[in-house]
Symmetry: C2
Subunit: 153 residues, 2 copies
């Protein structure tokens, strides 16, 4: 019993390393592409922008949750985006604790140029991998995260 469990855990450790490798490579590829277009736009800033393209007007806490970034990191990144005039911070009318983050026109417009590059990079990574395998894998990763919640917290 114990042996099998440890074998699986050791394999999961390798999976984690493989994920790090993929993330590192992916970051590098995307960063290179966008730097050519806009030298002032980092991969991390793009992560936030990319989320807002899908969900404009959410608050910082939700950005923090959905990008798995510490909320102080989000404060830092939003400040940087505000400085670049890519987003605006707007207090929630009813609950003034919430700061809603909205894309500016500029923030919306760069989507046309940037998003295709990001998508292209991920398409390259996918190669001819089967769509179902990809889905299955995503489900598995999410399940592993959920399993940790059951213990960790």
């Amino acid at each position: 019993m114990k042996k099998a469990k440890n074998q699986k855990a050791a394999l999961a450790l390798e999976l984690a390393r493989a994920q790090n490798e993929m993330r590192s490579k992916m970051r590098q590829v995307i960063q290179t592409k966008i730097s050519a277009l806009d030298p002032d736009l980092s991969f991390e800033l793009l992560e936030v922008i990319g989320l807002l393209w899908r969900s404009d007007g959410i608050n910082q806490q939700e950005i923090s949750d959905r990008l798995s970034k510490d909320k102080s990191s989000v404060t830092y990144l939003i400040n940087a985006l505000v400085k670049r005039a890519l987003v605006k911070r707007i207090e929630h009318e009813k609950d003034r604790r919430h700061k809603l983050i909205f894309l500016t026109d500029k923030g919306k417009q760069i989507r046309k140029v940037i998003y295709p590059l990001v998508l292209e990079s991920y398409a390259d990574a996918c190669g001819d991998i089967d769509l179902e395998i990809l889905k299955q894998n995503t489900v598995m990763i999410r399940e592993m995260t959920k399993n940790l919640d059951a213990f960790g917290d």
Copy 2:
């Protein structure tokens, strides 16, 4: 054709987010466990130590490659480990460019206490996920990384 490709890419983007989430949670769980034992040992330092447990005496470049960390990050982390007397830096006799990194006795000994905790965390994450699925996914991630090499560089 284009549609299908984009659909897969978008899914890969979700996979990447799921991986971030898992890494973040994993980091948090493991950091909490080891902080209780040794408040002076970070997750990142442990990543290096953990590699050395398997491959003692490799040089910094190899550590950099295998952990997907920038070599300047490795310099920083090794310095921190040397300060804590967990590893030693030894110049390669034949090629003095290489600095070989060796665990000290202390570095070896903490394995008994720490490694089980790490393994346990990954075992928790695995839950009752099928071993074959786990293997298959690791292979897939590595393939995605390799696909990027074909383009990115």
